[in-house]
Symmetry: C2
Subunit: 341 residues, 2 copies
Amino acid sequence: MSDMVRVAVDAMGGDNAPVEIVKGAVEAVNECSDLKICLVGQQDVIASELTKYQYPEDRVEIVHASEIIETAEPPVMAIRKKKDSSIVVALNLVKEGKCDAYVSAGSTGATLVDGQVIVGRIKGVERAPLAPLIPTLKGDSLLIDCGANVDARPSHLVQFAKMGTIYMRDVHGIENPTVGIVNIGAEEDKGNALVKETFPLLKNCPYINFVGSVEARDIPAGVVDIAVCEAFTGNVILKMYEGVGNALLGEIKGVLMSNLKTKIGALLIKKALKNRLKRFQTSEHGGAPLLGLNGLVVKTHGSSTAKEIKNSIIECITFTKQNIPAKIQEMLGSTLDEFEE
Amino acid sequence: MSDMVRVAVDAMGGDNAPVEIVKGAVEAVNECSDLKICLVGQQDVIASELTKYQYPEDRVEIVHASEIIETAEPPVMAIRKKKDSSIVVALNLVKEGKCDAYVSAGSTGATLVDGQVIVGRIKGVERAPLAPLIPTLKGDSLLIDCGANVDARPSHLVQFAKMGTIYMRDVHGIENPTVGIVNIGAEEDKGNALVKETFPLLKNCPYINFVGSVEARDIPAGVVDIAVCEAFTGNVILKMYEGVGNALLGEIKGVLMSNLKTKIGALLIKKALKNRLKRFQTSEHGGAPLLGLNGLVVKTHGSSTAKEIKNSIIECITFTKQNIPAKIQEMLGSTLDEFEE
């Protein structure tokens, strides 16, 4: 492997494309000397954006793709019909080994589905989970799976726990990360059929540091490094973070602006409050990796700004240098017969 | 039916029993002239608490029960072994028609299981859902089901939607309440197997005002009056409310106390902030009813104070006077053949 990490960036995807995407990519390449970027999308549009910036020209390449997949398009249809879309062209760069990683703020459905179809799963991986970091009082925890494949089986959840462990250990430097299964009570006999069946499998899995059930209430407090769940549950958790956070912060803003007294109070606390709550904002985090593929696929928020794009791209460097796919293959390979049907 | 509503209160259940429970009951009976209370539990303990207060003695009765079911006890075992516990004795008062409703801050498991076993489900009701009100920016929404019976079937969710509609309309006065199914996307083809199967049933159900999928993100904004979901999902939503709220408010408190400037700011906004956020606190709400039983069973938070106990008891009056069980039976009876197996 070359020491240079090559990241294919979907320049056309997301609410703020191409402006913020190109800006984030340029910032990343200016910050990291071991990074090469392929900006994938409409040649003239990207070239025109690039004229705004200073950057090492030998490390930024434009790869032309004439089509754009919209967020609302059904992913499987889109990939078949739009073979020259930025998503498909960029994912093919990863498949063909021309790039190590892919970053997109575009259609979640297309990225998840096409990531699996085009880049392909590592041998032995049954499902590729989407695994975002979520902010907690103790730092960040990994929520795995928040992806598009709902109704998981117990064996899938065990693989999520293993892949999450490798990722948190080797990309985020957390030694022996704790793993909890999202449940509706702390006792082993609590839960739905999936959780009850999965619990003993996790308990007896030697490759992870399983600490038992974690109630949703305790996730924001950061009681586990890795919260394992089925994708429907993961999506609800992620969206509740956003929903409750927005509602509360909206109320607080309303209070601060309600009269002269509170407005003066607001002036005194504003900066400190903003700094502290920044950690709870998504733009401070990189995107979420789709784990278990033959390469790295990262989905960032549709509303990503340059900062989030930059962070997502930079995270690809550690992921690639740590050779996460090989480590996942190795761990799953050594235990593959457990789940062979 | 007599105009007097009779509520059996578990005086021994909850973190603050018996002090706050007895206090809340006395406050309720002093506030409402159409209310009679049976305080169920250890005679001498309750009598001693009651000496602290002034209240109409003909409307407060003590019913002795010698045993207490602890939160950690397995519900089914507890009910068999502890026939003279406050929960069992109080629920029997409802079963025998001596009381109209039951309120407890004690073991959730025992209340949910024993409520169904002792009081019994209305004919035609397949499952009795726990349905708390949750605070939103627009007021309150009903989250149904948050109970102990996970892995629901589509027909259960349809009944939840119907029972929730009756409850929100006749107890909380919301005309033609909107119903949404909790989902991971807005489109009809999104969701897990349960949601996909339930969606068309709700869409074609003439008794409810179904508005489609609701994403968890939008629940705190109050986009629907009734959010229907399976109990595991409901529990996760409820606990995320608590968890994210606590984490954020903890951070904000930390900021306000961080230096002299922010402390002065805090003084200026404290009162307004407290007033506004009060609505997001559980003690402002009554307990959650277990719908679909032959009588009313209400579970309040384990940490309930007198205020929440009082609110829970008072809510029983409207519920009973509106004759919700009869209305549920009527609605389900008229559509029972839809689901007969």
